[in-house]
Structure formats: structure tokens, C-alpha cells
Symmetry: C2
Subunit: 412 residues, 2 copies
């Protein structure tokens, strides 16, 4: 018997049948005694359909206030249908839009931040043993305008509700049954983690693991809301994401997982003057183009000249190359080179904090497999290397074995 | 330069292209100096799609609170798209859901009544020369629950807004270019009326003319809001519906129009006791079945027995027949007869009030054409007869000619 927020994404509520199946799961948990607030997304495909309609209306720049009014209908449909499905099963339920539950946000349409949530009506419903069904992704600003939290914002809605209502857990139902040591499509011996820390999860998410939205993980960490990732389609305990538990520190694995990102491309500005301000003169104009830069690396200069290397999303590769080639003289560089067939591979684990030598073990294994490292960056709980994309699978598998991640899935 | 509410129904905003075309019409009126509040319905087909989804969830009885949450998304999509289309044309616009504009209603989900409208935000927008785009058909109750006004309720929303905002006119755009003396598909010489009174329009509507919702006409009459019916697709002055203008009383036509209803069926309970309470004993149980009865007629009894005749919707004909046949003994009737191939034909005109002899002229013309009258009912401004459906066209045409309704459309 716990007080839970359960969040189901677009795929989990993508059809009438799936919504009915979610209702049955909720009914079972409710009958077992749990108090439940459900957060749902729009049925899969719906948001894309609405965005396409908006584009037909305003091909150049879509009005964000009206776009939010439009998109908010997606989740509103789901909350009504799920509440109906619950009532059909004899479970009392009540739906709330973001405006109704009063998820108060700022006025940044399409990427609003949650400021406050009115708990009173929900707690009253819970007292009446109702399942409360809340539209994810949406809120309302002080003027009563509908706002949205940005794509995937339903995770954030769920965590914010769990924090405001002081729930025992925020459970995110998705199409995978938890967080894995690495992508099982690359390494079949990848194993589901029972537990992982917020920090590790943040690194996993920022490195391309699509299980959870970064913002939701940050939010959960900030308000210390235990997050659990579970499958909508199969039973199981999933993966619990919490703060590092001091007691378990002793048995903490060195490395929790291996993440990778195939979406990157590397660009090198060759032979620029090794002087203050050079990074800004290169990256400032790129930021102005609204292009995000990931890894940045500047070699030690020689003869007053240096090379400056960074990675961008692969989709932006050609654009950045062209842009910089057109600015060679301004930058004072000799040439621009690049490679869009690279990947970033990262070892993640809070255990790195207290254990030396992990980086050298990593580099040794990669060297034994003849994998050339093009860039290296490290943080307290992560070591990332940029390598040729052909070596991705080999790299993942050799590191997975080296750091003892192989095994059958945990049964807890 | 006038302050107008303009309402566009589902067909008028049924596609992206039509919404763009409505936006262009609005732009033109706005540029000509009109202040405009637009009320829109859901895109045609959308409400039916949503109702079908709800039926899949709750096949037996749909939860009305959640149905309203679901259906309200239909208009919400349209207001966002129309506002976008206006902005794309460079016209400042702002959308409001029923909750946002605060169309306060009672809590009768799916058939809510409007109690109050908050005019402040709209008048502020109008002052800023914005076009205000309001979702029709929906409101909000005191608890913040979404309500709907029932099918076709967008007309009512439009009239209520025009009344609250004290607009000069409420213009209802539809797929016909006005109110006609009769259905042009039956009588090609039917002529568009420039003007008609609220009372006449109410009779027309209740007798099957689908141009306007009865409730909207009642509402407009009650608050004396001039209503105008116009075509969404062709230019024109349409038909203005107002109170009877004393000055024009002199030239008032005797008869304004001929309405008919093909959806009726007649049922006669033969040989019941001619005593108090018999009407209730027959119609009470039928009302309990939620079946509406239209014309009711009881003949003068003979030998203490009488026949009791009434009409119901043709779809309910067999059900009512079966039901009454099963209750013959309870009612104390000899038999039940009926006919589902009848129609109701009505002459409508405020001129009837001050002119005698219209009924007899009507009956004479019908007799000359060998049309047998099965039932007759009259009101102050209407005479209805029930006739065999085969004679509908002949009846309409002969009356149309007799009462001088033939002619080319008015040009005003």
C-alpha cells in the first residue's frame, strides 16, 4: 500500500486496447491498496498529427501560444478515455487537464517550467479512493493561458506531481522494462539494473539512453523523488533510481553502465593561433546558429598554433563545416577537417569517485582491441571517448566484460 | 463598422483549406473596421470520431463528465488552427476555450445551460483590435469541470456571447445562404427571406428546418440579439431574424414559410375509455422510455370510447408499436394501429395572428389537390397537418403558390 504516481507514455496508451490494458493494471494496483495518480501522454502519433496541422497553418514560424492550445488536446483525449476505461471496470476515476489540476507554469510556451501544483483537489479525490488521471506535458500560466513543457514533458509532470504530493514513488511506464548496463541490441549480455543513482541516470540520459527525459531525472533528484522505470507491457520490478545509499556504498559496483551516442560528428579547426579568446571566436557564432556543441577539446599548442576540436549532432555536420570554411580568414585558421562517422562511448559509475585506475583499465582494454581514441573527456562519474563508429560494438562488448557487467538479468 | 459575433459550424471549418478561407473572410471584415468575436465548432467529423472512441471505452453508458472532457478537444483544435491562420495573415488573434473565456454553465454535462460569461478579457482584446476566437459548444461549471451544451450548442455559445457583449448582430455562417420560404429541394421557386421573426424561426426550426438550433433562436429572442444566417461559402446578406418590427407590421406577409418534417410516424390507440387520465396512462410510460411525442390528438368519444393518436420519430415507430401492443390490457384498448409513411406539413407566419381565414384557405387548396388530412393542430402563428408522405411535394408546392411565396430571391 503506497501513494504512487504512475506515468504512461504515448506508446502505452497508443490504442483503445492499450488504454484498456493500462486501466486493468491500474485496477489491480488500486485493489491491492495503492493510492494512484496517473499521468498520461497523448496517444502515439497524435502530437505529430497536430504539429503537422499547425505547420499547414503557419509554415514559417508557428505561434507558440496557439500551438500549446492545439497540442494540449492530445493528452486531454487520453485522460478522458482512460477515466472512462477505469469507470467501465468499476473503478472511480476523475480526469484533470493541466489547467484544472492547476499545474502552474511560467509563460515560456512550448518549454514552460512548473512553478506550483495545487494539491487540494487531488488529495481530496485520493481520500475518496478515486484514481486521479492527469494530463501530462501541459500546464497553465498565471493568465490562464495553456502552456506545454516541451516534448516528453509528461515525465516532468509526473515527477512534479510526485514531489508536490509527497508520493512514495514516481513510476514511469515505458516500452523497456528498466535501465540496462548498456543497449541490449549491441550487447546481448546487457543486464537490467535493479538500482541506479540519479547522477548515473543523468549521465546515461545525456549520453543517448532514451529511457527517461533528462529534465525529469534532474527534477526527481532535486526533490528526492524515487523514480522507477518499468515496462507497460510486462510485469517486473524495473529499475529504481534514487540517491546513492550510504549503506550500499561498500558493495557499489565500480561501473554501472556503458552508454553511447551515434548521433555525433567531429569537427577540427586546424592551425589556429593559441591565444585567449580563440574558443569563443569559433564557438560563439555556432551557438548563434542555435547549434549545440557537445565534447570540446583543445590540444596543447606548438609554435603558437593549435588545433581545436569539438562534436556536434550529425545532422548539423555539413552545415557547421560549410559555415566554418566560409569563415577561415576571420578565425585565422589553416583548414577545417571533420568526420561524421564517429561515436561517443562512455563508462558511467559513481564508483569511479572512490576508485582510481578505472580510466587506465578502460584505455588498456580499448587498446588491446586496436580501438583508436580520438578524443577523451572525463567527469567525476564518467569517462567518455570518441572512436570510429565501426568499433562501437567491439568497444561496448569488451568494456562490458572487463567491468563485470555481463550476466543474466537480475531477479529481485 | 459593427461589433459582431460570427459563428462558423463544423462544415465551414472542416478542412485546413476551409479554415484558411474563413480566416480570409474575417480579415476582410476586420480591415473594413468590424470588431469581431468568432465562435467555431469542431471540424466536421471530429465530434463523431470522439464519440465513437468514447463508445469503445464505455459501450453501455458513457460517463458524461469524461465525455465532455473528450468532446471539448474538438473545438479546442479549431480555435488554435483558426487563430494561427489569422496570425499568418497578419491579423492579431487570440483563442479561448470555454473554460478560459469563462462561459460559466450549470453542471448538466452534455446539455449544460449557460449562466454567465466573463466579458472583461474579450473586451480588452477587442480594444487591442484583436480577433477573439472562442470554442463553441463548451463551458465550465463552478468546480472547474468542463461542460458541453449539447450537439449544435455552438450556435447557443455565439448568441450568449453576443448578448453578454451587447454586440450589434450575431451572424451564423452555415452551408445555406439564409432561411427559405420552404425547402428549395422540394419547391424550386422557394425564395430566401430577407427577414423573419424569432417566433417564426422557432416554428421553422421545430418543424424540421435545420438551419438553426431551436435553443439558439430562443436565446436570441430572450436577449433580443439580432441573428443573421449567412453562407460560409458565398457572399450575400442572408436572412435577418429579429423581433417583429411594428412599423413593418402593415406590409407583413400573411405566411412566411412552409416547413415540413418527414421524420414522423403516427400511432393510434383504438377504442380506449373516454375518461380522465387516459392520455397519461398511454404517454407516461412512453416518456419513461425517453421517446419524444410530437403531435397529440384525441377524438371526441362515442359510446364512452375514443381513439387516441400521436406522432413519434420514425426511428421509434416499431418500438412504440411493440410496446403498446404488449400493454393492450393495461391500457384497456381494443387495438393499436399506425402508419410510418406520413409527414407533417406546416404553414408559418406571424400574419396569421391578425388575419382570419388562412386555415380554411389552406384546407381548401389541399382538398382541391385531393390531399387527405389525417391530423390538424394549430397555434397562433402556425397550422400543421399530418398527411400521407406521397403528397408532401404536391402539398408544399400548392401552398407555396397559394400564399404568394413564389418568386426570385429577394435582393436587399
Amino acid at each position: 500500500m503506497a501513494f504512487l504516481v504512475k506515468k504512461y507514455g504515448g506508446t502505452s496508451v497508443g490504442t483503445v486496447e492499450r488504454i484498456k490494458s493500462v486501466a486493468k493494471q491500474l485496477q489491480a494496483a488500486h485493489q491491492a491498496g495503492d493510492d494512484i495518480v496517473v499521468v498520461v501522454s497523448a496517444m502515439s502519433g497524435e502530437t505529430n498529427r497536430l504539429v503537422a496541422l499547425a505547420r499547414e497553418m503557419m509554415p514559417a514560424v508557428v505561434d507558440v501560444r496557439e500551438l500549446d492550445v492545439l497540442l494540449a488536446t492530445g493528452e486531454q483525449v487520453t485522460i478522458a478515455l482512460l477515466s472512462m476505461a477505469l469507470k467501465e471496470l468499476g473503478v472511480d476515476a476523475r480526469s484533470y487537464t493541466g489547467s484544472q489540476v492547476r499545474i502552474l507554469t511560467d509563460s515560456s510556451h512550448s518549454k514552460a517550467r512548473i512553478l506550483d501544483i495545487d494539491q487540494t483537489p487531488i488529495l481530496e479525490d485520493i481520500k475518496q479512493r478515486r484514481i486521479v488521471v492527469v494530463a501530462g506535458f501541459q500546464g497553465v500560466n498565471e493568465n490562464g493561458d495553456i502552456t506545454t513543457l516541451g516534448r516528453g514533458g509528461s515525465d516532468t509532470s509526473a515527477v512534479a506531481l510526485a514531489a508536490a504530493l509527497k508520493c512514495d514513488e514516481c513510476q514511469i511506464y515505458t516500452d523497456v522494462d528498466g535501465v540496462y548496463t548498456t543497449d541490449p541490441r549491441v550487447e546481448s549480455r546487457a543486464r537490467r539494473l535493479d538500482k541506479i543513482t540519479f547522477e548515473e541516470m543523468l549521465e546515461m540520459a545525456s549520453l543517448g539512453s532514451k529511457v527517461l527525459q533528462i529534465r525529469a531525472v534532474e527534477f526527481a533528484g532535486k526533490y528526492n523523488v524515487p523514480l522507477r522505470v518499468l515496462s507497460s507491457f510486462e510485469p517486473g520490478e524495473g529499475t529504481l533510481i534514487t540517491y546513492d545509499d550510504e549503506e550500499n556504498q561498500m558493495e557499489q559496483a565500480l561501473v554501472s553502465g556503458i552508454a553511447f551516442n551515434r548521433d555525433e560528428a567531429q569537427i577540427t579547426v586546424v592551425g589556429v593561433a593559441d591565444k585567449p579568446g580563440i574558443a569563443y571566436s569559433i564557438l560563439g557564432p555556432i551557438a548563434d546558429l542555435n547549434i549545440e556543441v557537445d565534447v570540446i577539446l583543445q590540444n596543447i599548442g606548438e609554435n603558437g598554433l593549435t588545433d581545436f576540436t569539438f562534436t556536434v549532432h550529425r545532422d548539423e555536420y555539413q552545415r557547421v563545416l560549410d559555415f566554418l570554411n566560409g569563415r577561415l580568414a576571420d578565425i585565422g585558421a589553416q583548414s577545417i577537417t571533420g568526420d561524421n562517422r564517429i561515436v561517443k562511448l562512455s563508462l558511467i559509475g559513481v564508483g569511479m569517485r572512490s576508485h582510481a585506475g578505472i580510466a587506465s583499465r578502460m584505455f588498456k582494454v580499448l587498446a588491446e582491441n586496436n580501438i583508436n581514441l580520438r578524443m577523451i573527456t572525463t567527469s567525476e562519474i564518467k569517462i567518455s571517448v570518441v572512436i570510429d563508429e565501426n568499433f562501437l560494438e567491439l568497444g561496448v562488448r569488451s568494456l562490458h566484460e572487463e567491468f563485470g557487467l555481463d550476466g543474466a538479468p537480475d531477479v529481485s
